[in-house]
Amino acid sequence: MRLSAIAWGFVAPALLVIGMFFLLPVATAAVLSLTDFDIYALADLRNLRFVGFENYARVLQTPLFWQALGNTFYFVVVGVPLSIMVSLGSALLLHSRLARFKPLFRTALFAPVVTTLVAVAVVWRYLFQTRYGMVNYALGQIGVHPIDWLGDPRTAMPTIILLAVWKNFGYNMVIFLANLQAIPEEVYEAARIDGASTFQQFVHVTLPMLAPTLLLVGIITTAGYFQLFAEPYVMTQGGPLRSTVSVLYFMYEEGFKWWNFGTASTVAMLLFVLIFAVTWGFTRVTKNEAGA
C-alpha cells in the first residue's frame, strides 16, 4: 500500500507533464475542430461557436487541402520506399565481409541524421541553385542543361525528396545493420550447402529474417514522412505554384498565419486519422501474409 503510493510519486511528474501538455491538448484538438475558433475567439472566447462537422466539410472542399494532401502523398509514396531501399542497400554493404573501414564508413553515412534539418535545407538550396549550384555544374559537365530545381513545380518536390533521403537513410541503416548482424551465420551456411547463390540467399534468407524489422521501419518512416514541414518551409515556402505545400504546412498557415484554430485542428485530426489508417493497413497486410 505504502509502496504503491511511493510508486505513484515516481510516475506522477512525468504523467502530469504528458497528460497536461500532450494528451489533454490532443483531446482538445478534437473538440476545437468542431468549433469556428478564429482570431476573434482568440481575443474573446464568447465569439466561439460550435459548428459540428462544418470545418470538415469545408476543408474537404478546399482545393488547396487536396493539393497539399496530394503533395504529401507524393513525398511519402516516393520518399519512403527510396529511403528504405538506400538504408537497406547501405546496411548490406556495411555488413558485407568484403567491406573495409567499417566504423569510419558507418559514421560517415550516419552523419546527416544528426545534422539540423533547417541548416542542411539551407545548404541544399545553394547546392541546387540554378546558376552557380554544384549540382547543375556537375550535370553540365555531362551535357545536361541547367535545371531550375526549386523553381520548377515538376522538380521542387523531387529535390525535397532527395534531401529527405540523404538526411534520413542512416537512421534505418543502423537498425537494419543490427538486425543483419543478429541473423545466425549457420542459416547462410545451410543455404550455401543447398547451392543458393548470393542473390538467392538475400531473397530466401535475409529478407524473410528482416521482415518484422522492415514492417516496423516502414511504419515509423511513413508516419514520419507524413509530417513533412521544415523542408518546404525553408526551401520553397510551399512554392512554386504550391507544389510543395504539405498537409502540415497547410495546417501551419491556417493556424498560425491566419489564426483559424478550428480549421487547423480539423486538418490536424485528418492527418492523424490518415497516419492511423496507413499504420493499421500496414499491420493488416503483413498479418494476412503471415497467416497465408
Partner: protein, 273 residues
Amino acid sequence: MRSFVASAVVNGLLLGLALISVFPLLWMLSVSFMPAGAASALPPPLFPRTPTLANYQELFWRAGMVRYLTNSLLLAAAVTSCSLVFNSMAGYAFAKLNFAGRQRIFKALIGALIIPGQVAMMPLFLLLKHMGLVNTYGGVIVPAMAGIFGIFLVRQYALTIPDEIIEAARMDGAGEFRIFSSIIVPLLAPILASLAIFTFLGCWNDFMWPLIVLTDDKLQPLPVALASLSREHVQDSEMMMAGSVVTVLPVLVLFLALQKYYIQGLLVGSVKG
C-alpha cells in the same frame, strides 16, 4: 580474382555513399570561409582562395548569433536535464515498482506514441498563452519536460536490473527514493547517456514548435533564427553557410563524441517491447 572485383565494388559503393553523405557538410564548411560573393562563380569553387572569418564575425557581431547560440544551448540543456529526471523516475517505476494500473497506463502511453505531436499544437498554444508562457523559454521547455519515448527507453533498460538488488537494499532499510538515487541511477547510467544525447539533439534540431511559440527573435534558437535569416539574406550564400556551420557543428561534435550511446538508444528505441 572474382573476390577482388567484388571487394572493389563493395568498397567503391561505400566510398561513393560516404562522399555523398559528407560532401554537402564539407562544402558548407568550405564556403563559410569564402569572402562574400566568392561562391557565386563558375566553376563553383570547392575551396576558398582567400580564407576569411568575415562571415562568422558578421554573424556574431551584427546578426545576433551569440544570442541564438545561447538560446539553443539554454533550451536544450534545460529540456535535457528535466526530462532526464522525470523520465528516469517514471521509467524505473514502470519497470520495477508495483502500483495499481501500471500495465494499463503503460500500454496506453505506448498506444499514444502513434499520435503525431502536431495534433496538440493549437490547444497547447492556447494553454501556454493562458499560462503566460508564449514567447518565453518556458513555452519550449515546459511541454518537453517528459516524454513517452524517454520513459519507454528507460523502462526497457530498467527491466534488466535484477530484483534481488532492490530487495537487498530494502532489507537494509533504505528508502525507495534512496534506492533509486544511489543504486538504480548508477545502474541506468548507459541508457541515461543515450536519453540525454537523444533529447539534447532532438531539442537542438527542433524547428516547428519553437517557430510557433517563440515569435520574439531575441528568444529564438538557431534553427528558427537561421530560417528567418536565410529568407532575408537569400543572396549571401557564404554567410548562410557560416550560420549553418554554427548550427550543425555543436550537435555533430556531440554525436561524434557520444556515438556509442546514441546508436544504443536508437536500437533500444526501435525494438517495441
